[in-house]
Amino acid sequence: MSVLRPLITCAGLIGLWWLVQAGLQLPPYILPSPASVAVAVWENRALLAGATLTTLTETLLGLLIGTVLGAAAALVMAFSAALRRWLLPVLLLSQAVPVFALAPLLVLWLGFGIASKVAVAVLVIFFPVMSATFDGLRQVPADWLDLAHTMNATRWRILLRIRLPAALPSAASGLRVAAALAPIGAVIGEWVGASSGLGYVMLNANARVRTDLMFAALLVLSVMTVGVWWAVDTTLRRWVVWAPK
């Protein structure tokens, strides 16, 4: 059933899409039919494959760098209350600036290549990862810490051997959110200025009123996002076996 369920959901959504398109007699440039999108995917498979590779690379690099930076910031804040007081307002302020406003600047600074897209993805996922990891580090059961104190543990070893592993289930939740958000960051970066990627394909297709190709790119992006999320979720389940089911 677990294999069938997503298939049934997909079939249902495609059915609904087809019903709306056929029932309302919408022109293909407003809403193309599922069949014409499928044809667009097949006909543009080489273009879409190349674009997917670009967006996937940006997404994965963004995930990696954003996770490392987010977890590091959480660790710094958990280890030093003084640094936390300085760092937290700056991080909150950085979240108040819409990433859409920052993306053109990043393209200006980092160029049209992959770096600016990775930077946008990092910006999008940094906060969920940091916030979830920091929450995890703060919510370590006091009894574990007391036990460690009676064992004459140093603060550093308590952080490394108790607080960090204890925070992993919470950090994993943040990482799952990040896995779903990272492709959005990459695509926003591509919309602002790029020469490849799924966002770039969408933008071009939109300008040429190739709605079927736009939907095709969107479909591939959705499949890629689900794939990235699934891979991250499966890996985390295997590693963080002590997380509550």
């Binding site: 009894d143 007391d146 104190h149 009676t150 064992m151 004459n152 108790i162």
Partner: protein
């Protein structure tokens, strides 16, 4: 193991949430003896244990070993929950102290301890695969691995079923023999089976009644007449909420 020091508690004072828990509390726990501490909930038993474990500083008074050496690094603590870390296997949990101090874990000694508590074949398993009784046995092995002369226990067997609890009591009494042990418990039968001396903490601020010695050597049989007589007297006293007057049990 060298002789275990006794604990001398002088003029201890502690306030919790604007309430005086105890004031000018004096107590001597003889070296190498098993002492049980009983009293109504909220009277301050756990607070006392935390001060002795060095987890909370006393507001007044002092806690010292009666051999004149510092108490720091010589106290092990076992709580009501087993506190096994779910990401470490049983062996990893037993040797946790060494890892936290940056020492190389002594796998041979840890394995020997696991064999003593009957968990030799579960060393590589994660704690969540063990039963409640097995988990407490692993926690006992972890406490013993610390090899501290003073062991503080806060209701360590209260969450176990009757049979498992009786087995754990016998095991703990056997493996902790010769150490200076203070056991906080709500169970008069457990106290009478395991302890050389019983202490009752009651009142607000809490005061200690004169210690009650229990005849015979622990672990005593559950139906030992001396155990039953002491248990009856202890239970009546606890129910009445009146500290026990001094004198011998039974």
């Amino acid at each position: 193991m060298p002789p275990c020091p006794g604990l001398r508690i002088n003029g201890l004072g502690l306030t919790y949430a604007a309430q005086t828990v105890f004031r000018d509390l004096n107590l001597h726990l003889p070296g190498g003896s098993f002492t049980a501490l009983l009293g109504p909930s909220g009277v301050g038993k756990t607070s006392l244990l935390r001060v002795l474990a060095g987890l909370d500083p006393p507001e007044a008074g002092s806690v010292a070993a009666d051999d004149g050496r510092p108490l720091h690094h010589r106290v092990a603590y076992m709580g009501q929950q087993d506190l096994l870390l779910p990401w470490l296997c049983v062996l990893g949990n037993v040797t946790l102290g060494a890892r936290l101090r940056g020492d190389a874990p002594d796998i041979a000694r840890a394995s020997a301890l696991l064999a003593q508590v009957g968990l030799a074949d579960r060393a590589a398993d994660l704690p969540q695969t063990l039963s409640g009784g097995m988990r407490q046995r692993a926690a006992l092995a972890r406490t013993l691995y610390e090899d501290r002369p003073v062991v503080l226990m806060d209701e360590p067997f209260s969450a176990l079923d009757t049979l498992t609890r009786a087995q754990m009591q016998a095991l703990a009494a056997c493996l902790l023999r010769g150490r200076t042990v203070l056991l906080v418990t709500h169970d008069p039968a457990e106290a009478c089976r395991l302890a050389h001396v019983l202490l009752v903490l009651a009142g607000s601020p809490a005061t200690l009644a004169p210690p009650i010695p229990v005849p015979g050597l622990p672990p005593r049989a559950v139906d030992d007449p001396a155990v039953l007589a002491t248990e009856g007297r202890l239970l009546r006293t606890l129910l009445a909420g009146v500290p026990v007057a001094g004198g011998n049990a039974a």
